[in-house]
C-alpha cells in the first residue's frame, strides 16, 4: 500500500460546507485542457488531443496512466476540461434567480430599486435575521418582491420595465427580447452589497456567472465510453450532448467571425442555448427533449441525479450488497416458523466469515480441505470454504486443487469464509418492506431444490403468496449483528405485531380447517390416526385419554377424542373462554354453548372443554389462544405451540380428507325456487317504484330529491334481495359443506362469497351508485332510452355458478374495474405518504429515559406514545388485559368451590 492511499483512507471530519457557483476564471483554472474538437477518437482508436476524450481528462482504460496526474484507472479521479463559448448562454438552473435579480435592479446603474432609507431598513432586518440564524431566503424573497414593484430607479431615474420569462430561457423587458449578452452586462453592474439583500454571497456567487461564457467539460471518468462486443465504441449520453455543443459553438463562431447575417447568427445562438439547456436538464418544460439516434431521450446531468433511478435515491441512499441471494419462494409445512429452506446452490455461494483462533484451528483447516464443492457424505449437505482471507488481507480463492495447500498454510488470525450451513442466522425479506415484520431473522436449513422455503404462518407478516413471489436473503457477517438479529429480529420474536397488539404470525387456511374439524363437536379419532397425527409433532408427553367402544360387529375399538388430542399441545395452566368465529353473529352466549351449536370455546386448566378451535383461537391477527400463550408463556412457547398446532391441523386434515368443488354451491330445488321467487319479487317491486316515480307519486325522503329517493329505494330493494338469497343459501348449506365450513371457521372465503356463488351476485355499483354511465340516456344499447329498471342499471340476478348473461357480465366488469383502479391508486398514494413519513421520522428513537428524541437531542415526545407502552406488548392497544385476568380469577374461584364441595 502506498503512502498516498493510506493517507486518503484516513477518516476525515467535514468542518463546514459552502455552496457557490464556479466563475469563468475558476472553470479555466480547473481545466486540464481546452476542448475544441467535436470528435472523440481518430481512425486508429486513439483519443484526439483537445477532443472530448483527451487523455488529460482522466483514464478509463485499464493499464494506462493519466496524462494529468499520472495515476491508474481506479485512483485517478478524472479532470475537468472546458469549452469557450462563442456567445454567452443562460444556465437553465438559474433562470428564476436571474429573473428575480433583473426585476429588482436597475438596468442603467445595476442598483437595487430601493431608496436609501428603505435599503437601510432591510439591511437592519437582514442583520437581525443573521443574528437569530433565521432563514435569510425568506427575507430575500421579500426584498425582490418589494423591489420589483418599483417603476422608476430612485438612483439614476431610469424607467424600470417589466421582466418576463419565455420558458425556458428567454428574458423579455417590456416584451423586447434580451440577449444573454445583454442580461450578462446587466448582471455585471449589480453591486455586491445589493446582492447580499437578494440572498446571494457575492464572493462565491456573482450573478453574471449564471450566464455561461465557458462551459466545464466533465472528466471522462464520469462519462466513460463502452466498447461493444462488435468492437464498436458507444459513447455516453453526456459525451453525445457535448459533441452537439462543440459543433454548434464552432459553427456559431465561424459564422460570426465571417460576418454572417444577424438572423443566422441568432438562430445558431439559440441552438447553442438549446443544446446547453438540454445538457443540464433534458426534461426542461417548454422544449422538446434531445434524443438519441434511436429515439430514446438522452440522460443528461439532471436526469442522472433526479428521482427514483437517480444517483441519490438509487446509489447513495440505497446500495447493492454482497452476501445476499434472491429467488422464488415456495411453501414447506414441515419447517418450523423460525426456519428458511435455502437451495444448495445458494448455500455454496453465500458465506459466513470465521476468524481462525488456536481453539478452532483444526476445525477450520478441515473445512478448507473440503474445498468449495465438498462431497456430501451419505447425501447430507456439508459446507465447504470459498475464500480464505490471510492476516495480510490477501484474499485466497479456495479451489479443489489448492485446498490442501491453503489448509496447510493456514495461520491463526486468518478469516475463513465458510459456506452456509444449517443453523446459520440470516435475514429474510420481501419487498415492499412496509413494516418491521417484512424483514426477519431465520435459521438456515439447506435443502435440495431451487427455491427459498418457509412455513405458511409466515405468509401474513411478509404478505407473501407463492404465485411467483421472490424474496431476498442476507447472510449476517458479524457476531454482534448475529446476536442482535437473533434477539430482536427472529421470527418468534415477531409473532405479536406492534401494529395492533396481537399475533400477526398464526395459523392460516388448512391449519384452521383441520383444527376446527378436529375439535368442533369433539369427534372420535381411531387410536391409530391419533398416534399418527401426534407423531407429526414428535410428541413425547402424556398421551391423551384412550377410550374404548364396541362397534356394530361387537369388536372393541380404541379411540381418542379430538379435543383431548388438541389439549396435549397446550402449555399447562391456561383458562380461557370466548366466542368462536364460527358462531353466527346474533347468537347469545347461552345458545352458543349448547352442544348442538358448540360455538363457545372454553379452556380450563389447559383442557379444551367445549367449542371448536378456529380463527378466533389460532389465526393470525385474531388468535386469542395464540396471543395468550405468547404473552403468558413467552415467544418460545408460542412458536412451539404454533409449530405443533399447524402440523396437527395439517395431519388431521390429511387423514380425514377435505375437498371442495363447484357442487358445494349446489342448492336444493326448494332453495333455488325461493331465490328465483325472491328475484321476481324484487324486480316487481322495483317496477312498482318506477311506476310511482313516473306518475309523480313517489314521496321524497327528507332532505333528498325524488330521483335520489328512487335510487335509494331501489338500492335497498336489490341489497335486500342479495341478503335474502345469501340467507336462503346458508340455510340450505350446512356445516357438512366444505365451503361453508371454511367460511364459518375463518379458514378462507366468506359467506358473502358463497351467497354470490350459490344465490345471486347482486347490484353492481360504480362510485356507490347503480351503473349509470355509458350511452345517451342508457347504459348499453341493449336497453331502451331512459330505462331505469333493475336489469338496465346493473342488477345481476344470476349467480356465479349459473353464469352471467352478457349485459350482467359487462356491468360486473365495470364494478370490478373500479375496485381494481381503487387499489392501484391506493397503493401508489399510500406508498408516497409512507416515504414522506419515513423521511420525517427515520432518525427518531426512544432514549434511555423513555423520551423520544431526534439526532439533535430535541425532545419529540416526553413519554413514548404518551403512555410509554410498547404496542407489541399491549393487548389490542390496551396496556392491561382485564378480561383474561378476570376470567382466570373467576376460574380459580370456581375451582376452589369445586374443591371445597
Amino acid at each position: 500500500m502506498t503512502m498516498r492511499t493510506m493517507l486518503t483512507n484516513q477518516p476525515k471530519k467535514i468542518g463546514h460546507m459552502k455552496f457557490g457557483l464556479l466563475s469563468p476564471k475558476e472553470v479555466r483554472g480547473l481545466s486540464a485542457t481546452k476542448v475544441i474538437t467535436a470528435d472523440t477518437y481518430d481512425e486508429d482508436g486513439f483519443p484526439i488531443e483537445m477532443g472530448l476524450m483527451d487523455p488529460r481528462l482522466g483514464v478509463i482504460e485499464p493499464g494506462l496512466r493519466c496524462k494529468t496526474c499520472g495515476q491508474k484507472v481506479g485512483d485517478c479521479p478524472g479532470h475537468f476540461g472546458h469549452i469557450d463559448l462563442a456567445m454567452p448562454v443562460i444556465h437553465v438552473g438559474f433562470v428564476r434567480v436571474v429573473r428575480d435579480i433583473l426585476r429588482g435592479t436597475c438596468r442603467g446603474c445595476g442598483k437595487l430599486l430601493f431608496t436609501e432609507r428603505l435599503r437601510e431598513d432591510f439591511e437592519k432586518q437582514l442583520k437581525t435575521y443573521e443574528a437569530e440564524e433565521k432563514d435569510v431566503s425568506i427575507l430575500a424573497k421579500r426584498v425582490s418582491k418589494d423591489a420589483s414593484n418599483v417603476t422608476v430607479c430612485p438612483h439614476c431615474g431610469r424607467e424600470h420595465g417589466t421582466i418576463d420569462v419565455d420558458k425556458p430561457t428567454t428574458f423579455r423587458e417590456n416584451g423586447h427580447k434580451l440577449t444573454p449578452s445583454e442580461v450578462r452586462e446587466w448582471l455585471e453592474k449589480v453591486p455586491n452589497e445589493d446582492l447580499k439583500l437578494l440572498g446571494l454571497n457575492a464572493e462565491v456567487c456573482r450573478p453574471e456567472w449564471m450566464v455561461l461564457t465557458v462551459l466545464p467539460v466533465p472528466p471522462v471518468t464520469m462519462r466513460p465510453s463502452i466498447t461493444l462486443e462488435s468492437g464498436e465504441r458507444s459513447e455516453d449520453d453526456l459525451t453525445h450532448k457535448l459533441v452537439d455543443v462543440i459543433r454548434i459553438n464552432q459553427r456559431l463562431q465561424e459564422n460570426r467571425d465571417a460576418g454572417a447575417p444577424q438572423l443566422i447568427v441568432e438562430d445558431l445562438w439559440e441552438l447553442l442555448q438549446y443544446h446547453i439547456t438540454t445538457y443540464f436538464d433534458n426534461q426542461t418544460a417548454g422544449i422538446p427533449p434531445a434524443r438519441h439516434r434511436s429515439g430514446r431521450p438522452l440522460k443528461t446531468i439532471s436526469q442522472r441525479l433526479k428521482g427514483k433511478e437517480g444517483r441519490f435515491r438509487s446509489n447513495l441512499s440505497g446500495k447493492r450488497v454482497n452476501f445476499s441471494a434472491r429467488t422464488v419462494i415456495s411453501p414447506d409445512p414441515n419447517l418450523s416458523i423460525n426456519d428458511v429452506g435455502v437451495p444448495i446452490e445458494c448455500a455454496q455461494e453465500l458465506t459466513v466469515p470465521i476468524r481462525v483462533t488456536p481453539a478452532n484451528f483444526q476445525f477450520c483447516a478441515d473445512l478448507i480441505l473440503r474445498g468449495p464443492e465438498p462431497k456430501f457424505p451419505e447425501g447430507k449437505y456439508v459446507p465447504g470454504v470459498n475464500y480464505v482471507i490471510r492476516p495480510d488481507n490477501r484474499r485466497v480463492k479456495v479451489t479443489d486443487k489448492n485446498a490442501d495447500e491453503v489448509a496447510k498454510r493456514l495461520e491463526v488470525g486468518s478469516i475463513v469464509e465458510r459456506q452456509l450451513d444449517d443453523g446459520d442466522v440470516v435475514l429474510f425479506n420481501r419487498q415492499p418492506t412496509l413494516h418491521r415484520m417484512s424483514m426477519m431473522a431465520h435459521t438456515v436449513r439447506v435443502m435440495p431444490g431451487k427455491t427459498f422455503r418457509f412455513n405458511l404462518p409466515n405468509c401474513p407478516p411478509y404478505n407473501a403468496d407463492f404465485d411467483g413471489d421472490e424474496m431476498n436473503l442476507h447472510v449476517i457477517q458479524g457476531e454482534e449483528a448475529r446476536a442482535e438479529a437473533e434477539i430482536l429480529m427472529k421470527v418468534q420474536e415477531n409473532i405479536r405485531s406492534p401494529r395492533f397488539g396481537g399475533p400477526i404470525i398464526g395459523a392460516i387456511h388448512d391449519h384452521i380447517s383441520g383444527n376446527f374439524l378436529m375439535t368442533w363437536k369433539n369427534p372420535k379419532l381411531p387410536l391409530e390416526d391419533a398416534t399418527q397425527v401426534l407423531s407429526r409433532v414428535g410428541f413425547k408427553g402424556q398421551m391423551p385419554a384412550i377410550l374404548e367402544e364396541k362397534d356394530e360387529h361387537g369388536e372393541t375399538r380404541k379411540f381418542v377424542m379430538g379435543r383431548d388430542l388438541f389439549s396435549t399441545l397446550l402449555p399447562p395452566g391456561i383458562n380461557l373462554s370466548y366466542k368462536a368465529n364460527a358462531c353466527p353473529s346474533g347468537m347469545k352466549e347461552k345458545e352458543a354453548r349448547l352442544p348442538e351449536n358448540d360455538f363457545w370455546v372454553v379452556i380450563e386448566d389447559s383442557k379444551l372443554i367445549q367449542g371448536g378451535i378456529d380463527k378466533t383461537s389460532i389465526a393470525s391477527e385474531k388468535g386469542k389462544l395464540l396471543d395468550h400463550i405468547a404473552r403468558r408463556y413467552g415467544n418460545q412457547a408460542a412458536r412451539e405451540f404454533l409449530d405443533k398446532v399447524t402440523k396437527v391441523g395439517n395431519g388431521f386434515l390429511t387423514l380425514r380428507g377435505f375437498s371442495t368443488s363447484i357442487d358445494d354451491e349446489d342448492l336444493p330445488p326448494e332453495a333455488r325456487h325461493e331465490i328465483e321467487e325472491r328475484i321476481r319479487a324484487t324486480k316487481e317491486r322495483v317496477d312498482v317504484l318506477l311506476k310511482q316515480y313516473k306518475k309523480g307519486e313517489l314521496q321524497a325522503l327528507p332532505g333528498r330529491g325524488v330521483e335520489e329517493t328512487l335510487e335509494m329505494e331501489i338500492m335497498r330493494e336489490t341489497g335486500q334481495a342479495r341478503d335474502a338469497a345469501g340467507e336462503t343459501a346458508s340455510r340450505s348449506l350446512g356445516m357438512d359443506n366444505s365451503a361453508v365450513l371454511m367460511a364459518r371457521c375463518g379458514a378462507r372465503g366468506s359467506m358473502l362469497n358463497l351467497s354470490q356463488m350459490a344465490g345471486l351476485v347482486g347490484q353492481q355499483a360504480v362510485r356507490g351508485k347503480r351503473i349509470h354511465r355509458g350511452y345517451q340516456k342508457r347504459t348499453l344499447p341493449h336497453f331502451k332510452w331512459g330505462d331505469l329498471g333493475s336489469d338496465a342499471k346493473g342488477f345481476v340476478a344470476a349467480s356465479y355458478k349459473t353464469g352471467l348473461n352478457p349485459t350482467e357480465y359487462f356491468f360486473h366488469s365495470m364494478g370490478g374495474r373500479e375496485g381494481l383502479v381503487d387499489t392501484a391508486v391506493r397503493t401508489s398514494r399510500s406508498g408516497y405518504m409512507q416515504r414522506r413519513l419515513i423521511n420525517a421520522l427515520e432518525d427518531l428513537k426512544v432514549a434511555q429515559d423513555g423520551t423520544v428524541r431526534n439526532t439533535a437531542g430535541t425532545v419529540i415526545q416526553f413519554v413514548y406514545g404518551e403512555d410509554g407502552v410498547d404496542p407489541t406488548r399491549s393487548v389490542g392497544g390496551e396496556p392491561v388485559d382485564f378480561d383474561t385476568i378476570f376470567a382466570s380469577v373467576a376460574s380459580g374461584k370456581a375451582k376452589a368451590k369445586k374443591g371445597g364441595n
Binding site: D849, A856, V859, F862, D867, V869, P879
Partner: protein, 94 residues
C-alpha cells in the same frame, strides 16, 4: 405583532374549551427542575409560538406579553395513560 386578534371582551378563552388541555406557565425554578430532569437545554424542548391562541391567553392572565423563554406545562388526558404531561418553550412568533 399586528395580528387581528379579537378584543379582550369578545374573545373566547380557549383554555376553557374541552379540547384544549391544561396549560400552565412554569416558574423559573420549576422550569430549571424540568430541564434538569430531562438533561436538556431550553432549545431542545418542543416550541410554541407566542402568537398561539393559548399563549395569548396565558399572557393576558400573567399580565405580561413577555412570556417568550418561559416553559408551559401541558397536562393532557390520555385514554391509555390517564394523564400525560408535556412541556413546550414559548418562542417569539416569526
Amino acid at each position: 405583532m399586528s395580528e387581528e386578534v379579537p378584543a379582550q371582551a369578545s374573545r373566547f378563552n380557549v383554555l376553557n374549551h374541552v379540547n384544549v388541555p391544561l396549560h400552565e406557565v412554569l416558574t423559573d425554578s420549576e422550569a430549571k427542575e424540568v430541564l434538569k430532569r430531562y438533561g436538556i437545554t431550553k432549545e431542545q424542548l418542543p416550541k410554541v409560538r407566542s402568537n398561539d391562541p393559548v399563549v395569548q391567553v396565558l399572557q393576558k392572565q400573567a399580565g405580561s406579553d413577555g412570556l417568550a423563554g418561559k416553559i408551559v406545562q401541558i397536562t393532557r388526558r390520555s385514554p391509555t395513560a390517564g394523564t400525560a404531561v408535556a412541556y413546550r418553550l414559548i418562542v417569539e412568533a416569526i
